[in-house]
Amino acid sequence: MLVLSRKAGETIKIADNIEVKILEVKGDTIRIGIEAPKSVDIVRGELVQSITESNAESLTLDVNWLSTLKGKE
């Protein structure tokens, strides 16, 4: 992993079309601005992780669930 130290107001360029700017550092929170082409997905990492876990949980359903459901109708 590439590690860079930056101060508020400084930026990082990624390729020729993405710019990450450190807007503010306050306590343990850093506000970041990102400029990227509109085709680039930008999502909080923990959120992707939570969605991934929820998708995986949805798949754990028993294969016999459907017949159980129909049996109740």
């Binding site: 509109k38 085709s39 680039v40 997905d41 930008i42 999502v43 909080r44 959120l47 992707v48 939570s50 969605i51 991934t52 876990e53 929820s54 998708n55 995986a56 949980e57 949805s58 798949l59 359903l61 294969v63 669930w65 459907l66 459901l69 129909k70």
Partner: protein, 148 residues
């Protein structure tokens, strides 16, 4: 004419003949299932509010899905630019929206993911699970509140 009818193995329906020209294409897969790009939607019987989003490649990959608007009447979100771009959306009517359900016992304890709706372009058949960046909706929204 290319024959697009194919028999696939499914999780809940054994073997099913599907028309692959009607399959849905997830160019980026789904979070956690990035390699699963082709799915079909299978009904599970008359009157059920649920359907199955079944991978055409792996029988074990099958999500229970439901229409979120039937559960949350005022469900509403903005479609982000990357999604408009990926699915080539021109107007809202191009889209069908479903939510992935986590089935629980009893059924009324089940939840639907409103934070990451599934969007389907009904004309070009491209689809995506879009993650909403705000906190207005839950990943595990209870479906049980509604009496049925």
């Amino acid at each position: 004419m290319v024959n697009t009818i194919k028999e696939i193995e499914t999780k809940f329906h054994d073997k099913v003949e599907v028309d692959l020209s009607k399959a849905w294409h997830f160019p980026k897969g789904l979070p956690g299932f990035e390699d699963e790009e082709e799915f079909v939607i299978l009904p599970i019987g008359d009157g059920s509010e649920f359907q199955i989003l079944q991978s055409t490649k792996q029988a074990g990959i099958a999500f229970v899905v439901a229409n979120p608007y039937k559960l949350v009447e005022d469900y509403d979100f903005t479609i982000d630019e990357p999604t408009i771009d990926l699915l080539e959306i021109e107007k809202p009517e191009d889209l069908m929206v479903l939510g992935i359900v986590c089935i629980k016992e009893p059924l009324t304890d089940s939840t639907i993911n409103l934070q990451a709706p599934l969007l389907f372009h009904i004309e070009n058949r491209k689809a995506k699970q879009m993650i909403l960046n705000d906190n207005r909706y839950a990943i595990k929204h209870p479906i049980g509140g509604k009496e049925s």
